[in-house]
């Protein structure tokens, strides 16, 4: 009886056991966690705020920790380390990796900082960074690295069979956008829970995005982990059982903590820390733990070019960690929340169940913002040194590391086009989106653009010609080359001028920069040299061009509706170009300018809308830090506007016309017309011959007045103005000895626009200074042919 029953029982039991052995994962998942205090001696400078003037700490409000979670699925072992530091700098990372236990490959060590602004500095050798992080103290660096390595050793020593789970929860009141009231926040709190085989908590890791900058002013020189310190204590109390609380900050670039309970000072800090802990515990409670598969993504890609070459590295470590369907992306700096949200969107779209962004990981490249943010006068945008395309760069590089990605995410470079030589210059036909067109232009004239950058930006900054003549810069001795600091500073200053520039224009300049190999900031500074040079009142830059623009309309033209003629004067030798833009959206338009300048000085679109910038001797008057050169804005106007009224409305909304004068001419709601947009308002034609010089206006400068008088005399008070007459007037040398025309020694091109026909007739300056033959192009035919 017994044997038969036994055999009957044995068979299914064996089947179940065998089945379990086959079905259950073969991984014996292990985990361990530990924390080691790393608070340095009092007196060590704090990191994070420049206005501390790199002074030392005077107290320890609460301890700073290195906290480490060791995970091992038998195939992949990792250390997830969070430190109560402002950042992980390369010297610290290098030393930690030297000291780290060999059981975990270096590529699998994730070093992160909570970004507390009350953590120690003193670990940075870089001269430029020491102004914020304080004097270099090798012993602090060594001790901190040893503490971090010790946390790894202890976590490793504490390893035991474990199970892990993850989930996310939502918060609406713990964080806030620190730049825009009710601006975007990361509502997600990510949680990883690790239990041992008996269900006892080993560690709980939270991923939450907000700056730890809430230590009250009274304790600005005290060491503190900020709200994270309260979170640690509270969570460990709530979890009990020796649970180690870990914290990894998210895409916190523009995120700060809120005051959910209406408190201030330390009470606010404590409140957020404890509420966060409670929320994390709540999420953790609902997590089912099991065994998982780990996967590490590791790369050291080359970064986009930067102006801050002495501060920023050329390559950076990027890591991802996949825990089953959770994707963690480790950013080497501070992404603004928009970047974190977009990367999450992309990851979830790719099939991941959850995604955490972890900022301040492995290195500190400062802030990362997207294009929309890049031109904003906000701190995060100013200390982003890799251009407006850095967000795309990260998306691409992280995508490359994702196991669910099956394609090469690298965008294909746009097709290039070769410039065609025309008398005195070049002609280039661009097509595609703004980036592609910028790329095509940059590729066509890369050498020239690089040369212009070298001559007009690098050299004058190096020689201090472009440096301010007052303040600290002026105190530098002659043998000091300030450019390693001045160029990034200039980049920051120039970037604010992008605020009102259209995204398409931004993309076009990005494309140009990419094709020429220049940092975006470098090319943007180059675009601004016109204003900078003159504003600083220096040498030969002071000779500012005087352009001439004339419009014939109404009774002064025949069937063509209107003619716009202009001579563009510019004091420097440039390579002139005629460029046709065929953007993906909006109007086809053309510009007549130079290889390197992305602005429009003379241009027309296929609707016949003409814009011409007339520089004046007051061109830089009123240009503020938020103003881009007016010519840069005109790209968007030509692409998006079809009528004079619309274009003028756009220009006025931008409030970007200051000392310059912009002629907007072409189709109006009724017929053809023109308007001059100036800082003081709009002026409309009072006769069929419309120039900048109004009748009886005594304010116009003497040279311009004389030239406009010559134009008026040459065209007469009555009679039809033809393209031939205009060509003759525009290209006749200027007086008093040269003739009654307006072509002069600074003239670079002359153009006649015939808006009704979409016709452009242009001539470039020849080597001997005289105008070459007119070249005729038709934009309307171009559009029709499409």
């Amino acid at each position: 009886m017994f044997p038969r029953r036994f055999v009957r029982m044995l068979t299914p039991t064996l089947l179940i056991v065998v089945g379990l052995l086959v079905v259950a994962p073969a991984h014996a998942f292990e985990a361990g966690a530990a924390k080691v205090e790393l608070t340095p001696p009092i007196g060590t400078p704090l990191n994070g705020y420049g206005d501390r003037l790199a002074r030392g700490s005077v107290a320890r409000h609460d301890p700073l920790w290195a906290r480490c979670l060791y995970l091992n699925d038998e195939e992949t072992a990792v250390f997830l380390v969070n430190t109560d530091l402002c950042m992980i700098n390369p010297a610290l990372r290098d030393r930690v990796l030297e000291l780290a236990p060999p059981e975990v490959p270096k590529e699998n060590i994730f070093l992160t900082a909570t970004h507390t602004h009350s953590g120690p500095g003193a670990m940075e050798e870089n001269l430029f960074v020491r102004f914020v992080s304080g004097r270099f103290m090798p012993d602090v660096l060594e001790q901190t690295a040893r503490s971090i390595a010790q946390s790894m050793r202890e976590a490793l020593a504490a390893k035991r069979r474990a199970a892990i789970g993850y989930d996310t929860g939502k918060q609406l009141v713990l964080s806030a956008n620190r730049r825009v009231d009710k601006g975007p926040i990361d509502e997600q709190i990510g949680v990883i829970r690790v239990d041992d085989a008996d269900g006892n908590p080993i560690a709980i890791l939270a991923n939450f995005a907000a700056h730890p900058t809430s230590v009250p002013d009274s304790d600005q020189y005290s060491f503190s982990a900020d709200y994270v310190g309260f979170y640690y204590d509270e969570l460990e109390t709530l979890a009990g059982g020796g649970c180690i609380a870990l914290f990894m900050n998210g895409a916190e670039g523009n995120q700060t903590i809120n005051d959910p309970e209406g408190r201030s000072g330390w009470e606010r800090t404590e409140s957020v820390g404890k509420l966060l802990a409670a929320r994390v515990k709540g999420i953790a409670n609902d997590i089912d733990c099991g065994e998982v598969k780990l996967r590490v993504g590791y790369a050291e890609p080359s970064l986009p070019p930067t102006m801050a070459t002495r501060i920023q590295p050329a390559q950076v470590v990027l890591q991802t960690l996949e825990i089953n369907e959770l994707l963690m992306c480790f950013w080497p700096g501070e992404p603004i929340v928009e970047l974190g949200l977009e990367l999450r969107r992309q990851a979830l779209a790719m099939g991941y169940a959850k995604q955490f962004s972890v900022g301040l990981s492995n290195n500190y490249l400062m802030y990362f913002v997207n294009r929309e943010y890049f031109g904003q006068p906000w701190y995060e945008a100013k200390v982003n040194f890799f251009g407006p395309g850095i967000s795309d760069w990260f998306y691409t590089e992280f995508t490359r590391l994702m196991s669910k990605n099956t394609t090469d995410p690298t965008p294909a470079p746009p097709a290039t086009v070769a410039p065609v030589e025309v008398p005195g210059g070049f002609e280039l036909k661009l097509s595609g989106n703004a980036y592609a067109r910028g790329f095509q232009r940059g590729a066509a004239f890369a050498a020239d653009v690089a040369e212009q950058y070298s001559q007009r930006v690098e050299a004058p900054v190096k020689s201090a010609e472009l440096l301010p003549t007052a303040g600290a810069w002026s105190l530098l001795p002659d043998w000091i080359d300030a450019s390693p600091l001045a160029l990034p500073t200039l980049a920051i200053a120039a970037r604010t001028r992008l605020e009102k520039v259209s995204l398409d224009t931004l993309r076009e300049i990005e494309g140009m920069a990419a094709a020429t190999g220049l940092p975006f900031d470098g090319l943007w500074i180059l675009q601004n040299t016109r204003a900078m040079e003159v504003a600083e009142n220096r040498g030969d830059f002071f000779a500012f061009p005087l352009c001439t623009v004339v419009t014939a309309l109404d009774d002064r033209v025949a069937e063509s509706g209107m003619l716009v003629g202009r001579v563009f004067d510019w004091p420097r030798e440039e390579t002139p170009v005629y460029i046709e833009h065929r953007p993906d959206t909006g109007h086809v338009f053309c510009e007549i300018g130079f290889t390197w300048n992305a602005g429009i000085f003379s241009g027309m679109n296929d609707a016949g809308l003409v814009v011409c910038v007339e520089s004046t001797d007051q061109s830089t008057a009123g240009i503020g830090p938020g103003d881009a050169p007016i010519e840069v804005h005109l790209r968007a106007v030509l692409q998006e506007s079809a009528t004079v009224e619309d274009a003028v409305t756009r220009l006025r909304a931008l409030d970007a016309v200051h000392g310059d004068v912009v002629l907007v001419a072409g189709p109006m709601k009724k017929g053809f017309g023109a308007q001059l947009v100036t800082a003081n308002g709009i002026r409309e034609p009072d006769s069929g011959l419309f120039t900048r010089k109004p009748a009886g206006d005594g304010t116009i400068d003497r040279d311009a007045r004389a030239r406009y008088e010559r134009v008026a005399a040459a065209l007469g008070e009555e009679g039809i103005v033809t393209t031939q007459t205009l060509e003759s007037v525009l290209t006749t040398p200027s007086g008093p000895d040269g003739g009654a025309g307006i072509w002069n020694s600074d003239s670079r091109h002359a153009v006649i626009f015939v808006p009704a026909r979409g016709e452009v007739r242009f001539t470039f300056r020849k080597d001997d200074g005289s105008p070459g033959p007119f070249v005729v192009r038709r934009l309307k035919e171009l559009r029709d042919s499409e």
């Binding site: 002074r55 005077v58 001269l127 020491r130 004097r135 020189y221 190096k462 300030a482």
Partner: protein, 538 residues
């Protein structure tokens, strides 16, 4: 046929006799010739002129070089030559001197004998340098044989019969055993035509010779007012000693009355004092002008446009926080009022770990005006509540010092502490603590004076290089990379390595300024490049 015996002896005698007679005549003639030559030689090498009679009395400068040839070895062995750049035209002089100017040594020894006197009037171009020295009779005799040499030509010179050596561009004449040489013909002529009134007196020359105390040379300068330096200096005397490892020059300058007045206005008219040894460091200054330091700086501020550091410090500190003006001013005033006339300044180091390379200076001074250190313990030990980095003095009892933190840590924290019989002030708390940890050297500089300066070139150079290398590494040095800087610095490093120590003591003495400059060279074994360095250079 005659049987008479013919005797031919007489004939033989007569022939021998005649021969003897001839020989005797020749011997007599030769003797006469020799006597004649000897007499000629004696006559022409008589010591008929003294040197003084051929040296103009109204020269602007006169340099006395005793026993030049006997010191050739010392001169040629001097490591001072190593300080000359490799491409210096003067480097050949060392070899020329070692090679006896291309002459056999015995010849040279007879040409220059005893004192060499170099003088002239032109102190701008030195176009009329006149060398007067004595020759031995052999040297004088050898010179008479100049006619056998193509190098020397006669120059009648209105009957003065001087010689010219065109290849070397020099003119010379010999009077008695005195050799007169100059690159300027008129200078030689002038020297040969001096009268008792226009020549230097024998006593003056003898006095100068007597005053020589083993120097390599003694130089005396007298400057006319229309000379570049004449408006500052009436005259000067320099004595130079040289040996195989050291060089020393003692300069005694008589300032022009106008400049002396200016100088006295700036530093008073102090007597030479016993100067304190400055705190340790590669560049040290110790001074005592007999005027309390604050007064001295006030004078310099007023007359030299040099900002008074007390005033600058007070103004700066007052600008920090009005609440702390009283405390800051109280300390500064106490320091100011206590300071005596003795002060020492040391450039101790460059702090490379500060937020930027910061020089560390130590200023020590006597405090006869009161025991300022006694008030330190009375200063607050802690900063004002809520303002931990208030720019206000605080007392550190552990180190018995007072500091005022400005920014960026101890490198920018002016600090003062008791030091020997006075106080020590530093721009850096770190440097001050380090210096105060070493007992002050209560000794005095070996020589009295008003100003003592000492530098250790090798340490100073390397200290500066560290800072420059850091700047170059970050691209902050115009047109220099770390590699190019290293190359550019190599000759200077080589030079600095050769000098172990430079010391200067200057002081007022009988209305003159006395400057004693000593250069101690590094022993050759210490400057020899190591194999690694050589291979690195290759």
């Amino acid at each position: 046929m005659s049987e008479a015996v013919r005797n031919y002896q007489g004939m033989r005698f007569s022939r021998a006799h005649r021969r003897r007679k001839t020989t005797r005549r020749i011997v007599y003639a030769l003797m006469g010739l020799v006597l004649g030559v000897l007499f000629w030689a004696y006559w022409n090498t008589r010591d008929t002129h003294n040197m003084a009679s051929l040296i103009p009395g109204e020269q602007s400068y006169a340099v006395y070089v005793p026993d030049l040839l006997s010191r050739r070895d010392t001169i040629t062995a001097s490591p001072l030559w190593d300080l000359l750049p490799a491409d210096s035209p003067y480097t050949g002089w060392r070899q020329s001197l070692a090679d006896n100017l291309g002459l056999p040594e015995w010849v040279l020894n007879n040409f220059i004998y005893g004192l060499c006197h170099v003088s002239g009037r032109d102190v701008d171009q030195f176009s009329d340098v006149l060398l007067v020295t004595r020759m031995t009779s052999v040297g004088t005799l050898l010179e008479k044989l100049h006619g056998f040499s193509d190098l020397v030509r006669a120059d009648h010179a209105g009957g003065l019969n001087i010689r010219v050596v065109p290849d070397f561009g020099i003119y010379y004449a010999v009077r008695g055993r005195v050799l007169v040489v100059s690159p300027n013909r008129e200078t030689v002529i002038r020297a040969l035509t001096l009268t008792d009134e226009t020549a230097v007196t024998e006593e003056r020359l003898a006095d100068a010779e007597r005053s020589l105390q083993g120097e390599l040379l003694l130089g005396r300068f007298r400057l006319a007012e229309d000379n570049t330096f004449g408006q500052y200096i009436d005259g000067a005397e320099v004595r130079v000693w040289l040996d195989k490892s050291d060089a020393r020059a003692v300069l005694r300058v008589r300032p022009h009355p106008v400049w002396r007045e200016t100088l006295e206005g700036l530093v008073g008219a102090p007597e030479a004092k016993s100067l304190r040894v400055p705190p340790p460091g590669p560049v040290q200054i110790s001074a005592d002008f007999g005027v309390p330091v604050p007064e001295l700086w006030a004078i310099w501020g007023e007359k030299g446009g040099i900002p008074d550091p007390w005033e600058s410090a007070t103004t700066f500190l007052e600008g920090q926080n009005p609440a702390y003006v009283a405390q800051n001013r109280a300390l500064l005033d106490a320091l100011r009022n206590s300071a005596g006339s003795r002060w020492q300044l040391t450039w101790a180091d460059i702090n490379m770990d500060a937020i930027l390379p910061v020089p560390e200076f130590l200023l020590a001074f006597d405090t006869p005006g009161g025991n300022v250190a006694g008030i330190f313990p009375g200063l607050p030990a802690a900063p004002p509540a809520g303002d931990p980095w208030a720019v206000v003095p605080r007392y550190d009892a552990a180190h018995d010092l007072v500091s005022i933190p400005l920014m960026a840590g101890p490198a920018f924290a002016p600090t003062v502490g008791a030091y020997g019989e006075g106080l020590l002030l530093s721009n850096s708390e770190t440097a001050a603590a380090r210096a105060l940890g070493i007992p002050a050297d209560e000794g005095a500089v070996s020589e009295k004076g008003n100003l003592y300066a000492r530098a250790v070139p090798r340490t100073t150079f390397e200290m500066c290089m560290r800072a420059l290398e850091e700047l170059a590494e970050y691209g902050l040095l115009k047109n220099q990379t770390p590699a190019s800087l290293e190359n550019a610095a190599a000759p200077y490093r080589n030079l600095a390595n050769k000098i172990a120590d430079v010391r200067l003591v200057a002081g007022m003495e009988d209305q003159a300024v006395r400057v004693d400059l000593r250069l101690t060279m590094t022993p050759a074994a210490e400057t020899a490049p190591t194999e690694e360095a050589q291979s690195a250079q290759q």
